[in-house]
Homo-oligomer: 886 residues x 2
């Protein structure tokens, strides 16, 4: 691409201060994304992005020296659509001249702790694609810009490096880390963000901004700020030019003390600033004029309008060696008792809904291709995937899936996902009609997680269709609420399935039909996917792989065995709650809130020492149901043929009549000798080693023994010793830690009574809508016990099954005659190491396919090696936007 | 002048809604005028006028349909100075095309209750002159626009009519009056604003705006508002165009019900709005588009960008007869217990300082001419009057002299006046040097009101120079603090004055030298003014004209006699305080505050039933000193040869240890049979009749028996019956009323503990600076007892003497030899009916002279008739901006 940014000249013998005018526009937080765009509900927060872009463009035109960067394509895209073509031309010219520069450029600035890499790649693609198609090479962001996320994931840096960014800037890191780096001048560093990719494939220059992302104190000239403007008319009272210049020089010189080069950066902007850009620019123009005017009097400070790219260019020219970093920036604490580790779990229902929505979207994307154009315009109307793509993209925002938005905004994200899924359902129905030849109405039972499906609960005869979006077979249990107690499962020809695949389990007169569907892969000549209308029903051999025992006195789990490997560990599991600090505390007045986790005591309260249990054994499934309290129960479930034990927990409504905020965990206590180590994934990909009260890059002074040892768990965590590895695969992002030898705890749900003073202004107390008494959340942990060298061979595919799970659709009554019962997009399953990350329509004539190696270096003897995939494409143009990983 | 405003076409068969985008920019209120201009101290109030003008011009250029009006030239002038010539050209074009229209156009929007007409004319001249010189005829405001002042003076309307305005709009009037006018459709009316001028000389069309000066509810689209923007993108949530259009049509149609024509006006703006004009205009553009779009569906509402002039033009075209009004709009109440009659007195010290500053400025102006160019550049340096002119102009603002600003802003106004006077002092010294031939250093004793003058208190020999800015002789007492007890007064030749003109009066070891200076008029061939370096000292005949008696038991005044007319009235005078409501009240929670006067009880507390007295009799002066309390005292003083009795009151610090706010009055109780009538002046000119519990234009329901009967007293009030008229001339604006037969009360000082919730956000509790215990205020009431038919012959010149009082300057030691001791700019005194209102340098080659008839129609048998003045001008161009009154 041509070199589009035109950087102002700097002065080699001076301290060059790069002023970077910018706005930070949350894609939803206190207001919904639409409210932010239009400037609606300014009573909640004054913010209107439409006006920001109007105003910035106007002001850039007034002085060619001025610069601006823009970040969030979700907003820019909307604004762009509403502009006249002459305004669009004007903006293109500003971009081509480097006066308006896009940085980051994703649809949003994603959260780093609670997002799955697949959804992050999708949202980045959406934003970058818009910029590329609209502005060409000059619209390409050259730096990643995560100024607000609350801690930084190594996988994000790895993705940014692989996307071709030249550098990465952020604002938030642990206050101890910052202090050390300031002293050592290591706020600019080289991040080696993968231990699998050969350097420099995942190397990324990383800069830590000096003031978060705010201007230096006293120099905020936005309409939302109260700092004194530059008053340079000597006829008016309080002429303050001398004072302003003096203060600025002091700040610039002290900032230069903690950075390595004779260039420093100042972020001149903040949240939703520049709505009236004139205020900023008018004063910045004056600042530059008056500060540089002092050069005639011997000042050695040179101020200029700049951008992160221009600043980065100067750093590169300095030709220094930067400190190397290989771990990540979690957890983030901005003070001794202020660990931002609560949001790893905040809003667990939203976090799950986002995760399942991603799965549904991938299915929708695949079926859009498999069904052909009729998918988008077919018997069930107009279907499309764009709405859901956008809904998923905004849900990656660092105040969306993170759970740190206001309640009404969380509702809006969920509504968007639901709405997106409605549009996708039409597409899926159209596509399945094309593929099956049957135009029978498809029913979607989106509430199966709470055992609600009106069709299966009332119909005497219905078909279940299973679509598996993975590129390899899965054995997937199907549980359906029914109102009978005995069902016959027949195949398409009407023959009943001849071994035990179907069982009705009734508890308290509510019955569930258990099926066990096995999806075979098939090759297909166009795209590499498979799809099943008819499942093969497994003849189940009970307890082939796993055994669990329960303590008869307590009703708790007592051991877990892998029968294949002949491993057994002691395993006790129970539920506890931490009492959330209300801020009334002599060490600090920090309460627990949407962001912050701060228990009042390091010892959690046990909910019940014993569980009331009930057990069920069938040829298909065995379940032990445990009741701990009216608000905590669990089903320990083992399907035949499964290598993972399911712990399906149900927690809520958390009681608050005692006026105590509660943070509920489950803790697994094992006989594994962990030596204070445990392991968590980074955004669902590579695993990172964690150690209690320890940070790899600095000498930690631990001030919060629980919260300061919590880390994000996106898809899995494990503990291990030389012989045993227990991996827990989660169905959503959660926070967790290992605080004792052999122990692993995961936070499941939080209900808090105080705001944590980070801006959201609401206690995290989810109690609206259908849960007036407080939100009830259900989820599933999947446990796998393996030998460490081969554990990844189990948890990699297991986790992908949870991330991309089969979509069930239903039709009522008899199957239409001539219904084609099975279909696969794949001629054969992909090799075990290869994951089909993306298959989606790109434009009319092309599709986007992303394949990735899903094993980390050295984690599997079998799978951690390069693999070759033969893409036999019969037609179409494969557009590979992202370099495939591996 | 050419017809510069280009009004949008209207539709005769529709309801035309004139949207008037405007900003209301207080020339000081919560912030100082400079802070408002620059947008400094936005922590107090978000407001920055520089940005408003930047933004509005930008936005006007984006769409030629858009309109804007601007009002306060004090701000516009500053902004204009800072613009490039190309921007100035752009703005000129906007003005010439009628897209930017000036309304009102004075330096500020003056207060109407507490301003003196002479200062209002000066400030209007300053603003209109700038507009005229900058923009020519198209810059001429055609409507007066007093949207915020808290009640409206008839004299203001009269001035506006005489200045040539086509109409007058305002926003505030009594809520009962508004309700009645809405029912009768009399919110647009013809104000006949003088009973002296022949109609239509003082007739002014007057329109009352529908929402004060705010937009209709739900339609405020400023950055400071939270109303929903128009969300017209169907892709976004909460598309609201239909709702907005519906709400707007409802409002427009109900507004049309209370006005007469098929045109209505909506003020789309408010305090300091349009700092980011894009928000307003973007939504107004849409509003117009969508509302007018409904015409295709049969809607009969037509919306357009407009200005008050364009709206007025349509009203004129309607050719209707409007209701006639001849009284004024005082007092203003916005609810039953919310009478804005406190500010008539608020900040009495500032009110006095503004009044004396006006006097000093007029002296400065006159001496600038008399002394010639050397006045501005002379032996004492560079002197000028512009600074003081501007300081006086901003002091006329309706939150300046009104006393309704924050304390720090009041301090700023005073500082500006003091600073202006410093510049004028240099000019005066230069001028006096030129006129006298003596370059002796001139000393200005600005603190004589509190008996402080370091020179006279220490020097053994000094000269006093008296400059009388009136165009006729005055006898003016000079009181100087000295440290001796015996002085000889000698004339210029060293001969001691041979009759008793000088007396030292010592009280508590502090002595004061009393002189009695008589200033003779002299004619001069260039300008008609006189000036005295040497005074003639009157040989005083004690008690020629007045006699007062005191009750020996109480020490209070008991009678007042005019010895010439042989009148005697019973007269008791005492001091009282009202307990200010703290808002803790069952009728209303309105407290007394800077704006509002609301006593807790209608019966004031007497401060003391008796006064401790001490009396002094000298040939020059007689004084009875009365002590009522440690915080209330008075000197009743009578000079020989004087026709007025001085009541020099000293009040403060008002005690508040009882936690009660206090509003101190003095009340004169007389034997005059007033029948509930009394009379107050309007801005120092014509007198208006007032009646207790009565309004001339509607049937008053009185809900505040005291506050609802208070009226502004700018310069005088009187009570009378067939034989006696007692006139009280004040030295500043004050509030007062006549609540009992024969009684007149005047509020002197206020100290309040609660804010009155009208925005100022501070209790009126003046206690800073040199008065940490609370402000002490001193002032003087001058009483004149006359026969009603000739009373004006006394009070007109008396009041003018107080408004324009002699300036004393001092030189130390012997006079320089050859000092010219006297000089007059006038060959003879002007006729008694003619007042020299203005004499000031206009530009290099011309001066501005304003003469006015100072008697009201029919108030004087001798003086209330036309008079001819022969202007014998030897040189120069007389520029009469204002039509002379009479």
């Amino acid at each position: 691409p041509p070199f589009c940014f035109s950087c102002h000249a700097t002065k080699p013998n001076m301290l060059n201060v790069h002023l970077v005018p910018h706005t930070h526009d949350d894609v939803g937080w206190l207001k919904t994304v639409d409210q932010y765009y239009y400037g609606d509900r300014n009573d909640i927060q004054h913010a209107g992005v439409q006006y920001i872009l109007d105003s910035v463009v106007d002001q850039l035109l007034k002085n060619p020296d001025r610069r601006f960067i823009y970040v969030e394509t979700a907003f820019f895209y909307r604004w762009w659509k509403q502009q006249s073509s002459s305004m669009q031309q004007t903006v293109k010219q500003l971009v081509n001249e480097g006066r308006l520069e896009f940085v980051n450029g994703g649809w949003c600035m994603s959260d780093e702790a609670t997002t799955h890499y697949s959804a992050v790649i999708d949202q980045m693609t959406m934003g970058l694609r818009f910029l590329n198609e609209t502005f060409g090479p000059c619209g390409r962001p050259r730096v990643a810009w995560h100024i607000d996320p609350f801690g930084h994931a190594r996988e994000h840096a790895s993705m940014f490096a692989q996307m071709g960014y030249d550098g990465f800037f952020f604002g938030r890191l642990d206050y101890q880390d910052r202090a050390r780096r300031m002293v050592k001048r290591e706020q600019e560093l080289l991040w080696r963000a993968s231990n699998s990719l050969t350097p420099p494939m995942a190397d990324l220059f990383t800069g830590i901004l000096p003031n978060g992302y705010n201007p230096p104190e006293g120099f905020c000239w936005d309409q939302s700020c109260d700092d004194p403007p530059i008053r340079d008319d000597p006829d008016l009272e309080d002429y303050n030019v001398d004072d302003v210049v003096k203060r600025f020089l002091t700040i610039a010189n002290s900032q230069a003390m903690v950075y390595k080069t004779n260039h420093i950066i100042m972020t001149m902007g903040s949240d939703f600033q520049y709505e009236n850009a004139n205020l900023w620019y008018k004063n910045l123009d004056k600042l530059i004029r008056y500060v540089n005017g002092q050069q005639a009097n011997g000042s050695k400070v040179n101020v200029l309008y700049s951008t992160p790219s221009c600043y980065l260019q100067e750093l590169h020219r300095a030709n220094l060696t930067w400190a190397l970093k290989t771990d990540d920036f979690f957890p983030y604490a901005d003070d001794a008792h202020d660990f931002w580790t609560g949001y790893f779990t905040s809003r667990p229902a939203l976090k799950r809904y986002e995760r399942i929505s991603n799965s549904n979207l991938q299915t929708c994307n695949q079926l859009e291709i498999l069904g052909g154009p009729v998918s988008r315009k077919g018997p069930f109307g107009d279907g499309e995937s764009q709405t859901m793509k956008k809904a998923m993209a905004v849900a990656q925002h660092h105040d969306a899936v993170s759970g740190t938005e206001k309640q009404h905004v969380a509702n809006d994200y969920a509504r968007r996902l639901a709405n997106g899924w409605q549009h996708c359902q039409v597409l899926v129905s159209n596509s399945l009609t094309a593929l099956s030849g049957s135009s029978a109405k498809r029913i979607y039972c989106d509430n199966l997680n709470i055992s609600v499906c009106p069709l299966t609960e009332s119909s005497k005869k219905f078909s279940v269709n299973v679509y598996n979006p993975l590129a390899r077979p899965v054995a997937w249990p199907v549980r359906l609420p029914v109102n009978g107690t005995s069902y016959v499962v027949s195949d398409a020809e009407g023959k009943s399935v001849d071994c035990q695949v179907c069982v009705c389990v009734c508890v308290c007169k509510r019955c569930k039909l258990h099926l066990y569907a096995f999806s075979k892969p098939y090759m297909h000549d166009i795209v590499h996917l498979y799809f099943l209308l008819k499942t093969e029903y497994l003849c189940v051999h009970v307890l082939q792989f796993i055994r669990v025992t329960f303590d008869p006195d307590t009703g708790l789990l007592s051991s877990l065995s892998n029968l294949e490997t002949k491993q057994t560990i002691k395993l006790t599991q129970n539920f506890y709650w931490y009492n959330a600090s209300d801020g009334n505390n002599k060490e600090s007045n920090q309460p627990s809130g949407a962001y912050i986790f701060r228990p009042n005591s390091s010892t959690p309260f046990i909910i019940s020492k014993t569980a009331k249990t009930e057990s069920i054994q069938t040829p298909v499934v065995q379940e032990v149901r445990q009741w701990f309290a009216p608000w905590v129960s669990q089903v320990v479930r083992l399907y035949g043929d499964s290598r993972a034990l399911e712990l399906e927990w149900t927690v809520g409504p958390l009681p608050i009549d005692d006026d105590l905020g509660k943070e509920v965990i489950t803790r697994l206590d094992t006989s594994i000798k962990t030596s204070e180590y445990f392991y968590t994934d980074s955004n669902g990909r590579e695993m990172l080693q964690r150690k209690k009260d320890f940070r790899p890059t600095w000498n930690l002074s631990q001030s919060e023994p629980i919260a300061g040892n919590y880390y994000p768990i996106n898809s899995r965590a494990f503990i291990k010793d030389d012989v045993d590895q227990l991996t827990v695969v989660t169905d959503r992002s959660q926070g967790g830690g290992s605080l004792q030898n052999g122990s692993l705890e995961i936070m499941l749900h939080r209900r808090l009574l105080y705001d944590d003073v980070r801006g959201v202004g609401e206690p995290l107390n989810e109690s609206s809508g259908v849960f007036p008494e407080g939100l009830v959340v259900r989820g599933c942990l999947r446990l796998s016990l393996d030998r460490p060298p081969s554990a990844a061979d189990a948890h990699r595919p297991l986790a992908q099954q949870v991330v991309l799970q089969p979509l069930l659709t239903f039709t009522d009554g008899d199957l239409h005659p001539n219904t084609q019962l099975e279909f696969s997009g794949l001629q054969a399953a992909l090799p075990p190491a290869v994951h089909l990350l993306t298959l989606t329509q790109w434009d009319k004539d092309s599709v986007l396919l992303r394949l990735e190696h899903q094993f980390q270096s050295q984690e599997s003897k079998v799978n951690s090696h390069p693999v070759t995939v033969n893409l036999e494409l019969s037609s179409g143009c494969m557009y590979l936007l992202m370099p495939p990983v591996f």
